[in-house]
Symmetry: C2
Subunit: 327 residues, 2 copies
């Protein structure tokens, strides 16, 4: 049994996870796929609890995602949202789809009845055959605040969805994360993993919160499984999202090697054994290797499921090369 | 300025309120109409706060109510509700309409942001031209529990909507109501009223909670305005709802005179100056009068707006006869 664990954010993480799942399905081993999802961009809106990354992963794995818009449920409508706007409630720049609201209401109701975030996500896992299990990184509410140069701060979703990351951030903060604990199953999954993959998600606001939950980075360092990361940066640019705006706040260049050096080698108290760079970044491979991280240059563009599956297969092959346990 | 205050529950209260508003509109006086709404059947469901009686009044006054089903918004759909069922969340026997959910989400969001129930209802009052102002009876959460013979208890909505009042109740309880305070504006409205009308709503679970909020019954007794009640019982039967199942729990017969004697005359430390009975109950008028309450026999069936307006006009005329202040 190949036990693969992916650490992932939302949209990019979903695409990568679909690729890994496809690669595993095409392989000849039994497998169990676990995704540890960022919950740092969760939020309360109009009284309900939203988990954008969990839901992106959930809908993508279930084949229920809107692949045209790139977010939410396929075939969704906005009848409730129009009412919310008429009431002057909610955020005019943040649309809640009707089908999507079903998820938010179910989640909020369960939370109100005393369920933990782990309980909630476990329930979300049961409706569709996902071929994977999603775990939240933590049960704690550690919603991301974005601090700005003028001293103000706002919720990550407002910064991103309303302002399209146009306000220059000085710092991203997840208040209380230093007291958070990994969610149920997270440390066990990492300890039992045969392969640990770091999705090409935002290193600051997606992977950053996951790695900031006390215990998770230590578990990666202590894991028997190789830890293989995939660069979210290709040729000095983000593939999607706004990592280029986020990376400067932690003093990291928007470059495939810089991100690898930020995660750092396990041998240097970091988390990585290997790093996948795009062919466009072949010149940066030596800098990665110099940091003690095995560098592998392969096509990173996940333009369709076959391309994503090829990337997933490549990541798993690198893990094999690293000597995954049980082989 | 005629300042009319109605104490009301949901559906019957709405119909009566529409009749009073229509009678006032047809009259030649300026008027301000205030409805003090029962919030005893409010509830949390799927993480959102519902206020069935407030919303029934709101939608009816706004002309947005579904007059065919008798509840919810006209033209509503159930897209979110279907999702909730698919998640195994919510109550399968309690439908949340999509348009209606817009109200619940707006309300819940405002509450979460720190608004009081008074603040919330004040906001709900502003969207449509209601020709009236709705006030909640209290800001406190005093949701009704129904105690059963077997010692169990359940939320009023479950008892009513799921079990159609078929489980024999022994007692209705609004936990914490003895520590509740009248909502903002309630006591002022009663003190300044020229007419106070008790709608033909359920005396136990609609008017009961309103009158149980400490200070409200005293304010009725101290008011300058006459207090005129309308019987919810015609010919020994409830017009709608389940008052016949509720009244035995407080030892009151399902009869027009028994309900009046339950409310009791102001002169006997009760709240009523006058009581309107249906023509079918003319034989009960002497018993009402014997209790020190002016009895008036008139048609009570609110079969359409004209009939409701005639009832409203009759109630206001009785108030005039009682000598409303300012005339």
């Amino acid at each position: 049994m190949r036990r693969v664990v992916i650490l992932a954010g939302g949209v990019g993480g979903s695409r990568f996870t679909l690729g890994v799942r496809e690669a595993l399905r095409r392989g000849d081993e039994d497998f169990a796929l676990t995704v540890i999802a960022n919950t740092g961009d969760d939020l309360w809106l109009s009284g309900v609890r939203l988990q954008p990354d969990v839901d992106s992963l959930l809908y993508a794995l279930a084949g229920q995602n809107d692949t045209v818009r790139g977010w939410g449920r396929a075939g969704d409508t906005e009848r409730v949202n129009a009412e919310l706007q008429a009431w002057g409630a909610g955020w005019p720049w943040f649309t809640l789809g009707d089908l999507d609201l079903g998820t938010h209401l179910a989640r909020t109701g369960w939370l109100r009845e005393g369920a933990t975030v782990s309980d909630v996500v476990a329930r979300l896992n049961t409706r569709w055959d996902l071929g994977a299990r999603i775990l939240p990184m933590t049960d704690a509410e550690v919603d991301t605040r974005v601090h700005l140069q003028d001293g103000g701060d706002l919720h990550f979703q407002e910064w991103w969805t309303r302002h399209r990351a146009a306000l220059v951030p000085t710092r991203f903060e997840n208040p209380g994360i230093d007291r958070a604990r990994p969610a149920e199953g997270v440390l066990d999954a990492l300890a039992a993993a045969t392969d640990i993959l770091i999705a090409p998600s935002n290193p600051v606001v997606s992977l950053g919160p996951i790695l900031a939950v006390p215990g998770i980075a230590d578990a990666l360092r202590a894991a028997d499984a190789p830890v293989v990361g995939v660069s979210p940066i290709i040729d000095g640019s983000v593939v999607r999202g706004m990592a280029d705006v986020c990376l400067p706040t932690i003093g990291v260049e928007t470059a495939a090697d810089a991100v690898a050096r930020h995660y750092a080698a396990r041998s240097a108290a970091g988390i990585l054994d290997a790093w996948l760079l795009a062919e466009e970044d072949v010149a940066l491979a030596p800098a990665v290797a110099a940091a003690g991280i095995d560098a592998h240059v392969i096509p990173l563009w996940m333009s369709d499921l076959d391309a994503s599956a090829a990337l997933g297969a490549a990541a798993l092959a690198v893990s094999d090369e690293q000597g995954r346990p049980g082989v």
